[in-house]
């Protein structure tokens, strides 16, 4: 279990992290979401020791994390960084050695990782000659090659094509299945919803929601209805107790307050024309996210 406990960090007058605590159990993939500037990168940097917290601590397997323990972590920073002129394999082997592998192991594992990620034919090229997508694969390989005990990835999916997203998702699932706690930040909430069981939401330096996505959904007591019609959508707010949560191309997700029944919505929809979709829905992760960050 990776524990972040009461982390606080200020930059001048700005409070970047305010008493942030959450845990990532071994074998679980946790999505770390929040608006830009919410404190995700700051929190991840503190976990990796790249930044110091003003107060609070990070624990791994119950013990305070020090430099020696951190060497066994894997990290992918938001601002990608590699030596542009170094050859891919030399670079990965070097980073592997910094993470404590001996020379032979570092090379062998780097080669294996780079094969899994599909850049094996470029191992002897200078990193700067690779496409951005391939450089990102190399960056990921740098986080994985030393077989880390903990994986912390800052926006790992940004900039990847759909095939790259699937490859990365597969690799992260394998890591989690092997018992590694995986935490990654992302703005792609649908992706987080698809990949993660648990999620941590941060806003303005504070944790605003955390837990299993299913629990968050269940605890969201709102009654939501999704309705789509063929023609011109009516003005849903004509109905008392109805608010629009999300506008769709030909319909909307509506929140019904107590006393309003779905049938009222359906009647209004039928009056407008052919009903293409009607159903009671659970709030999606983006719904929950919007709600907690605007609260």
């Amino acid at each position: 279990m990776l524990d972040l406990i009461d982390l606080t960090r200020r930059f001048g007058d700005v409070v970047a992290l305010d008493d942030v605590s959450f845990s990532v159990p071994g074998g679980e993939m946790v999505g770390f979401v929040g608006p830009n500037g919410a404190g995700k990168t700051t929190a991840m940097r503190i976990v990796l020791g790249v930044l110091q917290a003003d107060s609070g601590e990070v624990r791994w397997r119950g013990k305070r994390v020090d430099a020696a323990v951190r060497r066994r972590f894997g990290y992918m920073p938001e601002e990608r960084g590699l030596y542009p002129k170094m050859r891919v394999l030399d670079q990965l082997a070097y980073l592997g050695r910094l993470h404590g592998l001996d020379a032979g192991d570092a090379r062998a594992r780097s080669l294996r990782t780079i094969e899994i990620l599909g850049v094996a034919d470029r191992v002897n090229d200078r990193t700067e000659t690779l496409s951005l997508g391939n450089q990102q694969r190399v960056q990921l390989a740098a986080a994985l090659a030393h077989e880390p005990e903990v994986l912390v990835l800052d926006e790992p999916f940004s900039g990847l094509d759909p095939v790259g997203v699937d490859t990365l998702a597969g690799v992260l699932r394998e890591q989690a299945a092997a018992g590694v706690p995986v935490v990654f930040s992302s703005h792609q909430l649908e992706l987080v919803e698809r990949l993660c069981e648990s999620v941590v939401m941060i806003n303005a330096g504070r944790i605003v929601a955390a837990g299993r996505i299913s629990d968050l959904r269940a605890s969201d007591a709102r009654r939501l209805v999704r309705v789509e019609v063929a023609g011109q959508a009516p003005d849903w707010t004509r109905l008392a107790g109805v608010t629009v949560v999300e506008r769709l191309a030909s319909g909307a997700v509506l929140e019904l307050s107590d006393g309003t029944v779905p049938n009222d919505v359906l009647d209004l929809a039928r009056a407008a024309g052919e009903v293409r979709w009607f159903g009671v829905v659970q709030p999606s992760l983006p719904d929950i996210f919007r709600r907690v960050v605007t609260r």
Partner: protein, 395 residues
């Protein structure tokens, strides 16, 4: 889960140093510049050995008396400081042509005049004059009834001995030349390798690989490894250049005091270490407070000025190794690397004084490194230009 062997993280700076050394050694620019330096050095030594030695002059003689002077000059050439080739021509006109064409350095016409193009070589003219004077005096004496033997005796007077109050010390002169080259080499090497440290820091910062590195190791380990690796390369390069220069100079016979020269190379290497260690962490700081190579020049300026000033102090220490200025500058840790070696080579510094200078350098470096490391650690992860004052503050 992790079967791989994990090194203790204490020696991790050696892994960093190895990369710095290997990656730079593999760099084509480094190999080319080393090659050029060696070519210039060897070429200079070989050429100077060919050009060096005795001067050679061509003397053209016209007429019987002149031929006699030429013959005597050739006969006595062993006592002259130059070689002379005498050529006999039939008439003055062709002799003058030889002068104009540069085939002759001077022309002697009969027993009565010398012709030069514009300004003949003084040592040749002096020799011709004295031989001619002697011949003419001999003639006058014989005409006055003195026997040839007596005339010879009268004219065979030994030149006056000369006693120099401050005789030229050949050994010292050669050592001063070696010391000058040493100062030049140290200056270039300190600048080049200091710059490499700064540029290396900026490279990691601008490519942002530094965040990846610092998620695995500490800033102090990264900095120590970088300084060590680059410095080792500088030392190896200096050693290579020194050894090849020494070998070439010995081979072409330009070195009369090989022991002294070898000692000089050793002293230069040692003070490269002291100077580099002192300056490297400062160059790292200069690199850590900017994010782009273009901005590096500006932050390096104060450092560059100190090194340039120290270079001039070093040059004057070669000329006046016993001056107060040289004594003081050979003790200051920033100028000692450029002043101390020449004073040692020229025999102007006792062993304890050299030791004192070394101790001051090491102590200053030891005091500097923690401060430099702190600034580096505070600045290297901040984007853009960082104010030195902010980086010095304890977070």
């Amino acid at each position: 889960m992790n079967g791989a062997k994990r090194d203790s993280d204490r020696g991790i700076y050696r892994v960093v140093a190895r990369r710095e050394f290997v990656e730079r050694f593999k760099d084509r620019g480094f190999r080319i510049s080393t090659g050029i330096t060696l070519t210039i050095l060897v070429g200079f030594l070989v050429l100077s050995s060919l050009a060096g030695g005795r001067a050679r002059y061509d003397l053209v003689v016209v007429g019987e008396d002149a031929v006699e002077v030429g013959t005597q000059l050739e006969r006595g050439s062993a006592t002259l400081a130059f070689d002379v080739t005498v050529q006999e021509l039939d008439d003055e006109a062709s002799a003058e042509r030889a002068l104009r064409d540069g085939d002759a350095d001077a022309v002697l016409i009969g027993g009565d005049r010398i012709v030069v193009k514009s300004d003949g070589p003084a040592d040749l003219l002096g020799a011709v004059q004295s031989v001619s004077e002697r011949l003419r005096a001999h003639q006058v004496l014989e005409e006055a009834g003195v026997s040839p033997d007596q005339a010879d005796e009268a004219l065979d007077v030994a030149p006056l001995p000369v006693r120099a109050l401050e005789p030229i010390d050949e050994r010292r002169q050669q050592l001063a030349a070696v010391a000058f080259v040493g100062v030049l080499a140290l200056y270039g090497q300190l600048f080049a390798y200091g710059y490499w440290v700064a540029a290396g820091v900026v490279e990691e910062k601008s490519s942002r690989v530094v965040e990846v590195l610092l998620s695995a190791i500490r800033p102090s380990q990264l900095l120590r490894g970088k300084i060590l690796g680059i410095g080792l390369l500088g030392l190896c390069q200096l050693l290579l250049i020194g050894m090849i220069g020494f070998g070439t100079a010995l081979g072409v016979g330009r070195l009369d005091f090989p022991g002294g020269a070898l000692g000089a190379i050793g002293v230069v290497l040692l003070w490269f270490l002291f100077g580099y260690a002192f300056y490297a962490s400062l160059f790292a700081v200069a690199g850590s407070i900017v994010s782009r190579q273009e901005d590096l020049q500006a932050t390096m300026t104060p450092l560059s000025l100190v090194i340039i000033a120290s270079f001039f102090l070093g040059i004057q220490a070669v000329g006046n190794p016993d001056s107060t200025l040289a004594t003081v500058s050979s003790l200051m840790p920033w100028s000692a690397p450029l002043s101390m070696p020449s004073r040692i080579m020229l025999g102007q510094a006792s062993i304890w004084f050299a030791f004192l200078s070394a101790v001051i350098s090491v102590a200053a470096t030891a005091a500097l490194i923690p401060v430099a490391t702190r600034v580096y650690a505070n600045a290297v992860l901040r984007p853009g230009k960082v104010k030195l004052r902010d980086a010095l503050a304890r977070r």
